[in-house]
Symmetry: C2
Subunit: 441 residues, 2 copies
């Protein structure tokens, strides 16, 4: 059941070595390998971007990860991300490309300026290769993107195109957002590393907000090493994984009600993950979900939907006929949620944060499934965020570790969670686990 999909490469431009480990979808690009090639003079920024453009031209007609491709983007030669071609979820404003938020309302809309994280990426030298498909307003009405591992299956959402473009080997890195499970779930379904940082580590200004207290900017790349490097180069923060001493790192397997209803294959993947971690010398602890966290998870929908009523109410008032069914239904219901119910949900979230802080006195990292199972068949349903939304609400950093696979060949991701602000520790342990999964399976 478990096969290695992690992407570990070094190499020369011109050979195919810059493109990483094989997947059913072809080959993924390794950001670490690309940056190493640039730093050793083996690749120039414009060559690196050309590689991504060529791959995208070949593969995107089938995958439909991009909703807009930049014509002939200028390639900065300076900056830590020089030569790195990235995809930006079309929930972010871009001054030089149409910005639709996945919505008919905004067809052809051209913002005056960039979203904060887009401008940040440009300041660091990145080349925006194009806008990637998002579900409508990052909710559940899906776009045309298919899962690169099986085109009859959803890539997950709402960051559908960002996950699929990395998985299909078109680009080495992409930017998305998560309000429920919109980074970790598509990363799991597409077999890539997805990183949802601590709340506000990356700026969300200039995204189409759905629920501002939850909306979190996240990143995609082929492996943990790659996504951590992307985070490091994008932010200037020390996020490159460090060596981990397994003997002094406590890993908790997080037992919550949702686990019982997860697919047997996903349950088995979590067991395999635990076995591999134990074999690698980590201390494993079984952690039962505190009641406060179970209640906080339930409160997530109330919080999200109340805020979505506020955020999307203006569009509903003006453009209801151009909005998708699921979105219209949710926004209408949301506008009827009394403020007192929202306040109760905020209080439940606060109690959950207290309980979560205590959990992280007992363990360093929690492991859970990234999703209930592999990507569901069909494109209309982007999958269930029930393993993700608690951690979005808690603001804790999480990452999808891509490794395991279902019998069907579809990926099954494992989610690692750390204490708020402990992003470096999360990425360091996740990289060690990624290696442990490969070595012990």
């Amino acid at each position: 059941m478990a096969r290695q999909t992690a992407c570990v490469t070094t190499g020369l431009l011109g050979s195919n070595d810059l493109i990483g480990g094989k997947t059913v979808a072809g080959q993924m690009m390794s950001l670490a390998a690309l940056v190493a090639a640039r730093e050793t003079g083996k690749a120039k920024p414009d060559q690196m971007v050309a590689l991504a453009r060529d791959a995208t031209r070949r593969r995107d007609p089938e995958i439909q990860a991009f909703c807009h491709l930049a014509g002939d983007p200028e390639v900065p030669t300076e900056g830590p991300l020089a030569g790195v071609a990235i995809g930006v979820k079309d929930i972010f404003d871009t001054f030089d490309m149409p910005t639709t938020y996945g919505s008919k309302i905004y067809q052809g809309y051209r913002p005056k300026t960039d979203a904060s994280v887009v401008a940040l990426a440009r300041r660091r030298g990145a080349t925006i290769l194009g806008k990637t498909v998002t579900t409508e307003f990052a909710y559940f009405d899906a776009g045309p993107t298919v899962n690169p591992h099986d085109h009859a299956h959803t890539p997950g959402g709402s960051s559908s195109g960002s996950a699929a473009a990395v998985a299909a080997g078109m680009i080495p890195a992409a930017i998305g957002t998560q309000t429920g499970g919109s980074v970790i779930r598509p990363a799991s379904f597409c077999g890539v590393a997805g990183y949802k940082p601590s709340y506000r580590l990356l700026p969300s200004t200039g995204m189409k907000h759905f629920a501002p207290s939850l909306d979190t900017v996240g990143l995609f790349a082929a492996s943990i090493t790659d996504v951590a490097l992307f985070a490091h180069l994008l932010t200037g923060r020390p996020l490159n994984p460090e060596p981990v001493d397994p003997a002094s790192t406590r890993i908790g397997i997080y037992f919550c009600g949702e686990l019982e209803s997860a697919d047997p294959e996903m349950q088995a993947a979590l067991e395999r993950a635990a076995e591999a971690a134990t074999a690698a010398g980590f201390e494993l602890i079984a952690i039962s979900e505190p009641d406060e966290n179970a209640r906080a998870r339930k409160a997530h929908s109330t919080l999200q939907n109340y805020e979505a009523g506020m955020s999307c109410g203006p569009d509903l008032a003006l453009y209801e006929d151009q909005m998708g069914e699921k979105l219209v239904a949710t926004v209408k219901e949301s506008l009827a949620i009394p403020p007192s119910v929202y306040d109760d949900a905020r209080r439940a979230a606060k109690r959950g944060r207290g309980a979560t802080r205590k959990l992280f006195d007992e363990v360093d990292i929690l492991l859970t499934p990234s999703a209930p199972g592999a990507a569901p068949r069909g494109l209309a349903f982007t999958g269930d965020p029930r393993f993700n939304k608690l951690w979005t609400l808690m603001g804790t950093p999480t990452v999808n570790i891509p490794f395991f696979k279902a019998k069907s060949g579809l990926p099954l991701g494992i989610q690692a969670v750390a204490r708020f602000g402990q992003d470096l520790q999360l990425l360091s342990v996740a990289r060690a686990l990624e290696q442990a999964f490969a070595e012990h399976s």
Copy 2:
């Protein structure tokens, strides 16, 4: 020194009774009186809006509170705010009016949709009379608005037009924002009630963000009664002031370093406020600022500016030549703040929140000056937010109680602060104090 400016009226449309207490600038409109007139059938929504339009036509050429007036706005006849003409700070998106954010960059810009709070006001039946002047991006580069009490003085900023339009009796209510002191300070300078709710009580989506973790939507009206009623009718929350038992309400006078350097007239106003509160039967306590709060206040600028670098960096990259000097200088410096310095500031803020929670175990309400003194002379400098920014950072609700005046005739506001989420208590005690100031001075 102390004269009554509070606005207490009832009356009939057609007489001038709907317009409230006299000020040097003329007369303010009482929202409570207007709504009461509508509810008793004495005024129709379109008449109420016509009153505001007429007053604005007469007074705004001098005051310049509005940067855009709606042509012939449709007046809803249903909803709790039917007939209530409001001004909206031009930092908020409006689909049917130009939205400039006080910036040359956005001259003529027309968003596709409304900001959340604008749509909320419309859903409740309000009529948006126009957009009110904001400093550029709600920072320190001032617009043309003058102080209605003395046209040679600043109205304060950044919500300059919203405060001045209410003070000059053009509209009964207005919407603004505060990131440092941009609601409380102009309210104090203009002699109106300004209410900065608990963080996220009002939705900020669709405003031009400056520092999202601080940006707070706030409200203006003639008196505490009026601003509380506006908040109640806008949100549906129970925010109408309730009777207060002074004997069981502990009021703390907040002694911080900033107090020593406040104008003697402002120090005297705070003393008079304390005397009036004592005379009204409140228990008064002297509260020394905890060290954690002093450090949190210092951290405010780092937090604000780091986030402003992210929020305004995109504009700087594209439109630097169209941005004001103060803004350009701040954004450039801000982009150089290391993430570790920002993280330290977030930790200082968190420790301040802990200390503030403990403070509110000892007292119910804190009183401080709303500003170091009366509105400074000149229009270029909008005044100092040093009495406000700590509370913006703490997320605690605050309100400017307009009552006292300097010898010059310019208003001196007293700021009341309550525990996070205790907005009703804040407004109830503030109304009782507003009455006490009038009775005991």
